[in-house]
């Protein structure tokens, strides 16, 4: 399983904040870009959306491992 999380405006547009995505035995390990498409979030990850894997920024083509946590982060507005 891979835990996928959405935050702020992305979560509200999608209507969910968290999903567990199974990895079928024998299938290739997905990347964040694959999960974005698989979960019907869009065709490609928009440039303003950042990806985090296991709570650190990552690229959208990083190969994921079972147990990983992937988050899609809309533009940050802190401070």
């Amino acid at each position: 399983m891979i835990r996928v999380r959405l935050f702020a405006g992305l979560r509200e547009r999608a209507g969910w904040g968290e999903q567990q995505v199974p990895i079928p035995a024998g299938s290739p390990l997905p990347t964040p870009a694959h999960l974005w498409r698989q979960l019907a979030l869009g065709e490609t990850i928009p440039p303003q959306v950042r990806v985090a894997v296991n709570q650190a920024f990552a690229t959208d083509d990083q190969q994921l491992q079972p147990g990983d946590e992937v988050a899609f982060l809309p533009p940050i507005s802190g401070g």
Binding site: A52, S77, G78
Partner: protein, 160 residues
């Protein structure tokens, strides 16, 4: 020697507080300063402080009822720690403190405190400014402005 127990780069103390309720930035600063001089240590020669408060208007100029701050528990803290460690090392800072609100914040309330200590004003001011800008762009926080009963996510930051 200001930090007798370890080399300066390793001794730089970094303190982070995420506050789910209102906090007093001046009390936080006083507590931090007391900590720096605990056990008889000499006070740092230079400190730079920034306090950010919620303005009473939205980005479009409407009266703001409240600002809601969402964060990514775990990653937000880890990311601030990574940012603070990098900037501490780059500028040779002696100590760093970051306080940030989460949840519902009212106009006039403090939303962020950044405090850094250094041996000179240049590293203190540059390090403090760099830390604040990194927080605004690299630490996962998201603001939603509430006005007229409607919430609008803010995408991006206010002008420098």
């Amino acid at each position: 020697m200001r930090w007798p127990s370890c080399p300066r780069s390793a001794a730089a103390e970094r303190v982070l507080h995420l506050h789910p309720a209102r906090f007093d930035p001046l009390a936080a600063l006083a507590e931090w300063q007391q900590g720096l001089t605990a056990a008889g240590a000499e006070a740092p020669a230079a400190e730079a402080h920034f306090i950010g408060r919620v303005r009473g208007r939205t980005a479009s100029g409407a009266p703001l009822e409240a600002l809601e701050l969402e964060h990514y528990p775990g990653m937000t803290e880890a990311q601030i720690e990574r940012i603070a460690a990098t900037i501490t090392s780059r500028h040779g800072l002696l100590a760093v403190r970051v306080d940030h609100r989460v949840g519902r914040v009212l106009p006039g309330e403090a939303i962020v405190l950044v405090a850094v200590a250094a041996d000179r004003r240049g590293p203190a001011q540059r390090g403090g400014q760099e830390l604040l800008e990194a927080l605004k762009h690299e630490a996962p926080f998201w603001k939603r402005e509430w006005s007229g009963g409607l919430g609008t996510w803010v995408e991006g930051n206010t002008a420098f």
